[in-house]
C-alpha cells in the first residue's frame, strides 16, 4: 500500500508537488490569525476551584489589576516641592488615560492628621491631601511615612522611593462572559460563550496593549531628568511576556534556520540538500502554523516553543532520509535515483513512522495536564509533527526524483571516527559504561528527591531587563509584587434554642443590621490575622480593616475605636473615603474580611507551596475558636496550584508515556528485551537531567516541567532507528560487525539529528525569558545525554543481551 502511494509520488512528481504546494499555501494563508496570549489567566487551571474564588474575590472587592510605578527622584527627596509637583502631574496625566480607573499616589492620598487648624469633624467632611492649603508639609511627611495604608505601599521605609498605584479599569465584559459560560445550560451554549470570550480577549488584548503604551509614554515623558521611574505589575508582566514571545518566535525562526543551514552544509556539503531540508522544514512550519490558526489556537509562553520544536523534529526526519539516501547512492552507484529513492523511503518508512508516533505519544500526554496552554502545546505538536512527516515524505520524494542524479560527498569523516570510537567502547568497555550508568542512576535518584517546583515572576526575567529592575524595586521598597488575598468568612452563629423575651428578640434583630457589622469580635479577628500576616517572612505589605482601625486609633488620641465608634464611623463616614479604605477590605454583605497581602516574590528562599500550605494551616489554628472559614486566593496560589498539579501529574504522565512507548516498542521490535533496553537507555540520561536540576537547585517551572515528555518522545526516535538498523545488519553480519555497521550507518543519522536538535535548542538561550533559556539548556543537556545513551548504553545492553543469550544457548 505504502509502496503504491510512494510510487504515485515518484511517478507524478510535478502533480504531487503542485497539489501539495496549493494545500500548504492555503493553510499558510491563515498564519496572520495566530495571536499571542500571555495573560496571567492564560496559564491557569481552568477547573481549579481557586480560579472561581479568585474571580469572585476580584468581583467583590474590586480587581487587583494595578500597575505600580516606582519613582525615586535623583535628589532623593520625595517631599521636595519640585518632586511633589512631578508626582502630582504624573498622577493627573495617568488619570487621563482611557482604561485607567484611578491613580493613587502621595499627591492625592487623604491626610487625616496633617492639618494645622482643621477639626477632625471638618477633615472627615472634606479630606485634605498634601497640596491642601492648611496641610503642614512636615506633618504630612510624618503621616505618609507612618500611616498603615501608605507605608511600604506608596512610600518606601526610607522615604526615598514612592509608588504610584495605577488601578486599571476592570474588564466587566470578560467577567460576565466567563460567568455566562460557567452557567451555560448545555455544551452548545458553552461553546458559543467560548467563542465570544476568545473574540473579546483579542480585542481586550489590543486595548490593554494600547493602554500600556500610553502609560509607558507618560512615564518616559517624566523620565527625562535622571529620576528613577519603573513600571511593574501583573499586566506589565503579561505585556512584556507577549513581547518576549513575539521576539522569540522571530529569533527562533530565523536563527534556527541559519544554524540548520550551517549544520546541514557541514554534514552533507550540498546546497541542494540543504535547501531541500530547510524548504521542507519551513513549509511544514508554515502549514502547521496555519492549521493552528484555523483551529483557533493562541500562542502562549509555553507553546511559543513550537516553532523550534517543529523545525527540529522535521529536520531530524529529513536528515534520516538524506543519510539513508546518500548511503544507498554510494552502495548502489548504478541504480536509478527513482529506485534508490523508493528503497530509501520504504526502508525508513517504518522507523520514521514509529519515531514520529512515539514523539506524538510524548506530546499527547500533555492532554492529561488540565492546563490549557500545555494541552494545546501537546495537540499543536502532535499535529505539527504528523504534518511534517507527511510533507517530508512527499517533498523528499517528488523533488529529488525531479533532480538530476548528483554525486554527494561521503559522510563527514570526523563524525565517522567518533562513531567508531563509540562502537569500540561499547564492544570493549561495557563494565565502565555500566559503572558510569549506575553512578548516574544513584546520583539522579538523589537529585530527583530534591527537585522543587517554583513560580517566581521576578526570576522569569533577566537582571538587565527593565521589568525586572522595576519589580525588584517594588518588591524591596514598596511592599512586594505578588498579590495574595486572605479571606476570613464569619460563619452563622449556631441558633440558640432558648426562647427569647421581647427585648432579646428586639436586639437580636437589630444585630443583623449592616451598621453593627463592625463588632469587637470582628475587629479582634482582623487585628489578630493582620498582625499574624505582617509577621510572616516573605510578606511585604498587608492592608485590611486593621489598617483602618490603626488609622482610627491615630485620630482618636491613640485610643482604639470601640464598637460604638466603629458603627458610628461606618454610618457616617464620607462615601469616597469609605470606598478607599473600607470597601476593598470588608464585605458586609458577604460577612467577610479581606486581607490584601503583597508577597516578596524576589526572595530566593521563598518556597511557595510550603509557604501557602503552612500559612493556611497556621491561620486555621489561629482562628480555630472563632467560628470562621479561611480561604487563600490570588494569582500566587493559582499559579502554585497549577504547577503543583502539573508536578503531581508528572509521574502519571511519564508512566503513561513510558508504558505506551514500551508497548509500541514491543510491537515494533517484536521483543520485550529490546523494548526494555531501549526504554532504559532513554530513561537513565533523562533521569540524570532531573537529578542535576535537583542538585543544582534549579526549580521546575511551567516550561521545564514539559521537558521529560518531550525528551522521551524525541529521544526514543534514536533507539527505534538504531535497533531497526541493528536488526537489519544482524541478518548478514556477526554481532560485533552489526554493532559497528549500525554505528557507522544509522549512527551518522543519529549523530547528525542530535547535533541539529542540540543546535536548535541552543537557540533558546537567546530568549529574554528565563524559563525558555532553562528549557533550552536542559533540553540540550538531555539530548546530549540521550545521544550518549544511544551510542554507548544501548549497544552495550544489546551486546550483553546477545552474549547472555549465546551463553544460555551453549549451556
Amino acid at each position: 500500500m505504502l509502496s503504491k502511494i510512494l510510487k504515485i509520488f515518484l511517478n507524478f512528481p510535478k502533480l504531487t508537488l503542485g497539489i501539495t504546494l496549493v494545500f500548504c499555501i492555503f493553510f499558510s494563508f491563515f498564519i496572520k490569525n495566530l495571536s499571542v496570549d500571555a495573560s496571567a489567566e492564560s496559564l491557569l487551571l481552568e477547573h481549579d476551584k481557586g480560579l472561581k474564588l479568585y474571580r469572585e474575590v476580584s468581583a467583590r472587592y474590586g480587581n487587583d489589576n494595578f500597575l505600580m510605578l516606582a519613582f525615586a527622584p535623583k535628589d532623593k527627596d520625595i517631599f521636595a516641592k519640585d518632586n511633589l509637583e512631578t508626582i502630582k502631574n504624573l498622577t493627573l496625566d495617568l488619570e487621563k488615560i482611557n482604561g485607567v480607573q484611578k491613580v493613587f499616589s502621595i499627591a492625592n492620598a487623604p491626610l487625616l492628621t496633617s492639618s494645622k487648624t482643621k477639626e477632625l469633624k471638618e477633615i472627615i467632611q472634606n479630606i485634605p491631601n498634601i497640596f491642601s492649603q492648611d496641610v503642614d508639609i512636615n506633618l504630612a511627611k510624618n503621616e505618609i511615612l507612618n500611616q498603615p495604608f501608605y507605608k511600604k505601599n506608596i512610600i518606601s521605609k526610607d522615604g526615598k522611593t514612592t509608588g504610584i498605584l495605577i488601578y486599571l479599569a476592570p474588564d466587566l465584559v470578560y467577567n460576565d462572559l466567563i460567568n455566562s459560560r460557567d452557567n451555560a445550560k448545555n455544551e452548545n451554549e458553552k461553546e458559543l460563550f467560548r467563542t465570544l470570550i476568545k473574540k473579546h480577549q483579542e480585542s481586550s488584548r489590543e486595548f490593554s496593549a494600547k493602554r500600556l503604551e500610553e502609560i509607558t509614554k507618560v512615564v518616559s515623558k517624566y523620565s527625562q531628568n535622571g529620576d528613577f521611574l519603573h513600571l511593574g505589575g501583573v499586566e506589565m508582566i503579561a505585556n512584556d511576556m507577549i513581547n518576549y514571545v513575539k521576539s522569540d518566535l522571530k529569533i527562533y525562526g530565523l536563527s534556527l534556520i541559519g544554524l540548520l543551514f550551517i549544520a546541514l552544509w557541514w554534514f552533507f556539503g550540498s546546497l541542494r540538500l540543504v535547501f531541500l531540508a530547510l524548504g521542507i522544514c519551513v513549509i511544514s512550519l508554515f502549514t502547521s502554523s496555519g492549521i493552528f490558526a484555523l483551529l483557533g489556537f493562541d500562542i502562549t509562553v509555553v507553546s511559543s516553543n513550537y516553532v523550534a520544536l517543529v523545525l527540529i523534529i522535521t529536520v531530524s526526519v529529513v536528515i534520516h532520509l538524506i543519510v539513508h539516501f546518500i548511503e544507498n547512492l554510494h552502495k548502489h552507484p548504478k541504480a536509478s535515483v527513482y529506485k534508490i529513492l523508493l528503497s530509501t523511503l520504504l526502508d525508513k518508512a517504518s522507523p520514521s513512522f514509529f519515531a514520529i508516533l512515539t514523539t506524538v505519544v510524548g506530546f499527547l500526554s500533555f492532554v492529561f495536564s488540565d492546563i490549557e496552554p500545555i494541552i494545546k502545546l501537546g495537540i499543536m505538536m502532535s499535529l505539527g509533527i504528523s504534518v511534517s512527516l507527511i510533507l517530508a515524505y512527499i517533498y523528499f520524494a517528488s523533488i529529488l526524483v525531479l533532480m538530476p542524479r548528483l554525486e554527494f560527498k561521503k559522510l563527514n569523516q570526523s563524525s565517522l571516527k567518533f562513531l567508531s570510537f563509540c562502537a569500540n567502547v561499547s564492544l570493549k568497555h561495557r563494565k565502565i559504561i555500566y559503572g558510569i550508568s549506575l553512578f548516574c542512576v544513584v546520583f539522579a535518584l538523589f537529585g530527583i528527591l530534591q527537585i522543587k517546583v517554583e513560580n517566581s515572576f521576578v526570576s522569569y526575567f533577566k537582571d538587565s531587563s527593565r521589568i525586572k529592575q522595576g519589580l525588584l524595586i517594588i518588591d524591596k521598597e514598596l511592599g512586594g509584587t505578588m498579590p495574595l488575598d486572605v479571606i476570613v468568612k464569619f460563619k452563622q452563629s449556631p441558633k440558640q434554642n432558648e426562647s427569647l423575651d421581647e427585648f432579646e428578640q428586639e436586639f437580636d434583630d437589630l444585630a443583623k443590621d449592616d451598621r453593627y457589622f463592625f463588632s469587637s469580635e470582628k475587629t479582634r479577628i482582623a487585628t489578630k490575622v493582620h498582625e499574624f500576616l505582617s509577621a510572616q517572612k516573605y510578606v511585604g505589605s498587608v492592608l485590611s480593616l486593621q489598617s483602618l482601625l490603626e488609622l482610627g486609633k491615630s485620630i482618636n488620641d491613640g485610643k482604639a475605636l470601640d464598637d460604638f465608634a466603629l458603627a458610628f464611623l461606618y454610618e457616617n463616614l464620607d462615601e469616597n473615603f469609605k470606598k478607599q479604605v473600607l470597601t476593598p477590605y470588608v464585605s458586609v454583605e458577604n460577612n467577610e474580611l479581606r486581607f490584601s497581602v503583597r508577597m516578596l516574590d524576589s526572595d530566593p528562599n521563598l518556597r511557595r507551596d510550603v509557604f501557602l500550605k503552612q500559612l493556611e494551616k497556621d491561620l486555621n489554628v489561629l482562628l480555630q475558636n472563632d467560628n470562621v472559614e479561611v480561604k487563600i486566593s490570588g494569582i500566587m496560589p493559582l499559579y502554585n496550584n497549577m504547577l503543583q498539579s502539573l508536578f503531581s501529574s508528572q509521574f502519571d504522565t511519564l508512566a503513561f508515556v513510558v508504558l505506551v512507548i514500551f508497548a509500541l516498542f514491543v510491537v515494533i521490535f517484536r521483543s520485550f528485551v529490546y523494548a526494555f533496553v531501549a526504554i532504559l537507555a532513554n530513561l537513565i540520561p533523562l533521569a540524570l537531567v532531573f537529578g542535576l536540576m535537583g542538585v543544582l537547585n534549579i526549580p521546575l517551572d511551567i516550561m521545564s516541567i514539559t521537558i521529560a515528555a518531550i525528551c522521551i518522545g524525541i529521544g526514543v526516535d534514536d533507539m527505534i532507528h538504531y535497533i531497526h538498523r541493528f536488526k537489519e545488519e544482524l541478518k548478514h553480519k556477526s554481532l560485533e560487525e552489526a554493532i559497528k555497521a549500525s554505528h557507522i550507518g544509522i549512527g551518522s543519522a543519529i549523530y547528525y539529528t542530535s547535533v541539529t536538535i542540540i543546535l536548535g535548542f541552543l537557540v533558546m538561550i537567546s530568549s529574554n525569558f528565563i524559563p525558555t533559556i532553562y528549557f533550552g539548556l536542559l533540553t540540550v543537556l538531555a539530548m546530549s545525554l540521550l545521544l550518549f545513551g544511544s551510542l554507548f548504553l544501548l549497544p552495550s545492553f544489546i551486546l550483553s543481551y546477545h552474549y547472555l543469550k549465546q551463553n544460555y544457548n551453549k549451556a
Binding site: K121, Q125, Q496, E498, L500, E502, F503, E504, E506, F507, L510, A511, R515, Y516, S519, S520, E521, T523, R524, K559, A560, L561, D562, D563, F564, A567, F568, E571, N572, N625
Partner: protein
C-alpha cells in the same frame, strides 16, 4: 409603717413618667442639660454629673445592664449581677461623658414620639454641619413609669454595641475579665 409605705409609693408615683408627658419632660430635661453644657464648657465632667442627676430617674440602668449582657445575665449570681450593674452604670456614664464632645453647641430638639408595640421612641434631632442627625431615646413601660432602656445616637444603638463587645469578651474570657475591662478607662483595650 403603713403610712411610710403609702408615702413611699406616692413619692415614686409623683416621679413616674407618663407616656403623654415623655416629649414635654424630655424636652425640658434636654434644654436644661444643654444649658448646663453651655455653663460648664470647660469642665465636661462636672456638666455630665449635673446632667446625670437630671436624667437618672428616667434611665433604667439595671435593665440596660441586663440587656447589654443578653442571656448571660441570668446566669450570673446575685452578687455578680450587683457588681456588673454598678460597673456598667459607671462605664455608661463615662462613655456618655466622653461623647458629650460630639454635641458641643448643638441644639437637640424633640421631634416626635412614636409608639411601637410596647415601646415608645422619642426622636430628637440635631443639626450638625447642615445635616440633620437623630438621637432616639427608647422607652418602655415599667409599671406605668416610662423608662429609657436604650439610646440610638446618629443611628447607632448604645446597648447593641455594648452587647457585641460583651459577647466577644465573654467568648474569650470569663466574667472577671469582663468586669475588669468594664472598669478600665478604655474598654476596647
Amino acid at each position: 409603717m403603713k403610712k411610710i409605705v403609702v408615702l413611699f409609693f406616692s413619692i415614686v408615683f409623683a416621679f413616674a413618667l407618663n407616656l403623654q408627658d415623655i416629649s414635654k419632660t424630655m424636652q425640658e430635661k434636654i434644654d436644661e442639660s444643654l444649658k448646663i453644657l453651655d455653663q460648664n464648657k470647660n469642665d465636661k465632667s462636672k456638666a455630665a454629673e449635673k446632667i446625670f442627676a437630671l436624667f437618672d430617674g428616667v434611665f433604667d440602668y439595671e435593665l440596660m445592664a441586663k440587656l447589654s449582657l443578653s442571656v448571660r445575665y441570668e446566669k450570673l449570681s446575685e452578687n455578680e449581677k450587683n457588681q456588673f450593674n454598678k460597673a456598667f452604670e459607671k462605664n455608661l456614664k463615662k462613655s456618655f461623658t466622653d461623647k458629650l464632645a460630639l454635641y458641643d453647641s448643638q441644639k437637640l430638639k424633640v421631634i416626635d414620639l412614636e409608639e411601637k408595640n410596647k415601646r415608645a421612641f422619642l426622636k430628637t434631632s440635631m443639626i450638625v454641619d447642615g445635616k440633620e442627625n437623630f438621637v432616639i431615646f427608647k422607652f418602655y413601660n415599667k409599671n406605668n413609669d416610662w423608662q429609657i432602656y436604650d439610646v440610638d445616637i446618629f443611628g447607632i444603638s448604645i446597648i447593641q454595641t455594648y452587647r457585641s463587645q460583651f459577647k466577644d469578651v465573654l467568648q474569650n474570657g470569663d466574667f472577671k475579665t469582663l468586669l475588669e475591662k468594664l472598669s478600665s478607662v478604655d474598654f476596647s483595650k
